[in-house]
C-alpha cells in the first residue's frame, strides 16, 4: 500500500495546544492517526495514543490555573522510528522529582512501563518528554 511506503519517508506533524485539559483528547486523536499511518496494528496504535495522551496530560496539568504557563507542544515524526516529543515551557505540573505522588499514583510509572525508549529532559525551565517506537 502507498501509505506503508510513505511512512518510510520523513513526514511529520506538530500540534501546539493551550494548557487546557479538554484539548488533550484532540492530541490523542492526532497521535492515533499518525500511529495508524505507521502500522495497522491496533495494539500499537492504542499504545501510542495512551503514551502521547499521558505525556500531554502530565505537562498540561489538571487545573486551568496553569493556563498561563504557555502551550504544550507535541511533535510526531515518522522516520526510521516513530518519534514523539512533548514539551512545555515555564512551570510544569509534573516537574516535581519523579518520586512525587499524585493521589498515590507515581506519575512516570505508566510512561516508563509502557515505552521502552522514554526520556525526560529539562533545560532552561522547559521539560521535554521524548519517546520512540520501532516501526514493524
Amino acid at each position: 500500500m502507498a501509505a506503508a511506503g510513505a511512512a518510510r519517508t520523513t513526514t511529520g506533524i506538530s500540534v501546539s495546544i493551550a494548557r487546557d485539559p479538554a484539548l488533550v483528547r484532540t492530541v490523542r486523536l492526532v497521535a492515533a492517526a499518525v500511529a495508524r499511518r505507521a502500522s495497522h496494528d491496533e495494539e500499537f496504535v492504542e499504545e501510542v495514543r495512551l503514551a502521547v495522551g499521558e505525556a500531554c496530560a502530565l505537562l498540561v496539568g489538571e487545573t486551568d490555573e496553569s493556563a498561563n504557563g504557555g502551550p504544550v507542544e507535541v511533535t510526531m515524526r515518522l522516520e526510521d522510528r516513530l518519534r514523539v516529543a512533548v514539551s512545555a515551557n515555564g512551570s510544569v505540573a509534573a516537574a516535581d522529582p519523579p518520586t512525587s505522588d499524585i493521589d498515590g499514583v507515581e506519575p512516570w510509572a505508566l510512561l516508563r512501563g509502557l515505552i521502552e525508549d522514554f526520556d525526560i529532559s529539562r533545560a532552561a525551565g522547559s521539560t521535554t518528554l521524548s519517546m520512540s517506537w520501532a516501526l514493524a
Partner: protein, 112 residues
C-alpha cells in the same frame, strides 16, 4: 462531555457505570461523583469500567484516591474491567495488585 456516569444501588453496593474517556479533562467529574457518594455514606463502591475507552494516570489517581476514601470508612471499592488494554494499564502501574478487579457485575457483587 465524553464521560458518562450512571449510579445504581444494589445489595448494599453502589455501582457507578462509567462510559467514555477517563482522562485529565474528565477525571475530576469522576472524583466529584465518588466524593459525593462517600459523603452521603456510600462506602461500598463498584466501578464498572466496561464502557471505558480510555484511562490515563489522572484517572488511576482518582481511583486510588477513591479507594483511600472508602477504606477510611472500612468500605470497599471493586472494579469491573474486562478489556485487556485497560487491564494492562493496571498491571504496568502495579495497581492490579491494589484493586479487586472483576470480570462482571455479577462477579463483583457475588464476592463477600
Amino acid at each position: 462531555m465524553d464521560l458518562s456516569l450512571e449510579t445504581r444501588h444494589e445489595g448494599g453496593h453502589t455501582i457507578i457505570e462509567v462510559g467514555g474517556e477517563i482522562d485529565v479533562y474528565t477525571a475530576p467529574k469522576l472524583r466529584d461523583k465518588i466524593t459525593e457518594l462517600v459523603g452521603n455514606g456510600n462506602y461500598n463502591l463498584v466501578i464498572d469500567m466496561e464502557k471505558v475507552d480510555f484511562l490515563d494516570s489522572t484517572g488511576l489517581g482518582v481511583l486510588v484516591g477513591g479507594l483511600k476514601k472508602v477504606r477510611a470508612h472500612d468500605g470497599s471499592m471493586r472494579l469491573i474491567c474486562n478489556q485487556e488494554r485497560l487491564l494492562k494499564i493496571f498491571r504496568i502501574t502495579g495497581l492490579a495488585k491494589v484493586f479487586a478487579i472483576h470480570g462482571s457485575q455479577a462477579d463483583a457483587l457475588a464476592e463477600r
